[in-house]
Symmetry: C2
Subunit: 224 residues, 2 copies
DNA sequence: TAAATTTTTGGCCATGCGGTCAGAAATTGA
DNA sequence: TCAATTTCTGACCGCATGGCCAAAAATTTA
């Protein structure tokens, strides 16, 4: 998986700037139903085998219905990511907001922990998201949700680290490398859990918090 | 990218146990030529668009030639990975062997550093490998070179960490989580460099060494 | 109720894929 | 030199895909 979320709580710089198109009830229900089917099929059969026909069958409608309610497969996938993504982001942001400003150690614990907690309760979504992030490509062949699109996430993590450094709480290190590595470790925590369902995700999250606290804290500091 | 290499220098548990089939000169030349074309096409156009037709065109032969010299696309891809992989493994193993036993700090530096050094000189191969590792699937839909196939690599890293812990050099931590996280951070170092060619790979490798040394070392120890 | 509109169906299309094959071309060996 | 063998070509196959559309069905509006 790649590019979790921007936990800053911003409304998201997505395409939803101008007025949302009005949707009839049927429209909304069908779109939700198709997205749910897409998540299931992608999680179970893998992104590559999640054809329009498969998704339509799962949703119990004919293939044309998807084309009627979505501009195409790309839009369906992007709306699917958007939905999962938004819920996760809301959850993490609320957890972080509930804590106030209590330093980097607490921030790491809550950030990593809340991501893990939410995903533990939404395994199917996590697996679908992992499939999409690693396989969904734009027409020119680039990963649609690849490292290149994680820039705003990296920037946010960098800011957290830089603030900790300025407070004297963290040692000197390259914040970009730390941000990329933290994200990588989180991504692979989920990827590992995807493959090993019995793996203890919460414990992994706690270990990861320790790992990055030791990696970032200033010399001579005790654990928090 | 996933599943770098087993740096233990073992001959590799691959399929090459029994006697290698004899190959004519033409056979060897053609296979090398086709593998090279495959690397180029995969690196430039992406794995998804690297069809037999594309690879054949790049190699300057007709499509049938590939089928003549390889059992199918799967064999071509696997031989391609094998080639890149073997060279990288040889390089890293020799660097590690040249150092002898000098503790975990040195091991981390040489392991991460030699991977980065070799890949810096073989960017096209690295990108092709990244494409293959993240997209090449078995017939049942699993990633051919995914986390599930990294078990032996994780086991090896765990052993390095466990040895350091027993020597009192490293603090207590979950070696599996540390192994998965180190591999993730290395993978993403390469992935980041794939997307940002001007990124300083050697400096990133040094930062990563620092990161994991701080994350793993026993309390009260100075940097080495 | 009747017309207008929205929604759904299921078949059809062009495209690109990996793989196969008969026969041509090139190479080898006697 | 000339047959045997290896290597190569380019057309062709079956298959699955995403998307399209005319017509049927369902729903809303007048």
């Amino acid at each position: 998986m790649r590019s979790e979320i921007d936990p800053s709580g911003q409304p998201g710089n997505g395409e939803s700037t101008s007025t949302e198109p009005e949707r009839s009830l049927i429209e909304k229900v069908r779109r939700a139903q198709i997205i749910e089917a897409a998540i299931d099929v992608i999680a179970v059969r893998g992104f590559a085998k999640a054809s329009m026909a498969q998704i339509a069958e799962r949703a119990g409608v004919s293939k044309g219905v998807i084309s009627y309610h979505f501009a195409g497969k790309n839009e369906l996938i992007e709306r699917t990511v958007e939905q999962i993504y938004d819920r996760l982001g809301t959850f993490v942001a609320s957890r972080l907001a509930a804590e106030g400003e209590t330093g980097t150690a607490a921030w790491l614990r809550i950030y990593i922990g809340s991501l893990a907690e939410h995903m533990a309760d939404h395994r199917t979504q996590l697996i679908a998201l992992g499939e999409i992030f690693t396989q969904f490509r734009t027409e020119n062949g680039e990963l649609r949700y690849g490292i290149a699109s994680s820039e705003s996430l990296f920037a946010h993590l960098e800011e957290v680290f830089r603030a900790g450094q300025q407070r004297g709480e963290l040692r000197a290190f390259d914040v970009r490398v730390m941000a990329v590595s933290l994200q990588a470790a989180i991504d692979d925590m989920f990827a590992y859990w995807s493959v090993h369902p019995d793996h203890d995700l919460a414990a992994h999250a706690r270990e990861l918090t320790d790992l990055f606290w030791h990696a970032t804290r200033a010399e001579g500091r005790a654990d928090s």
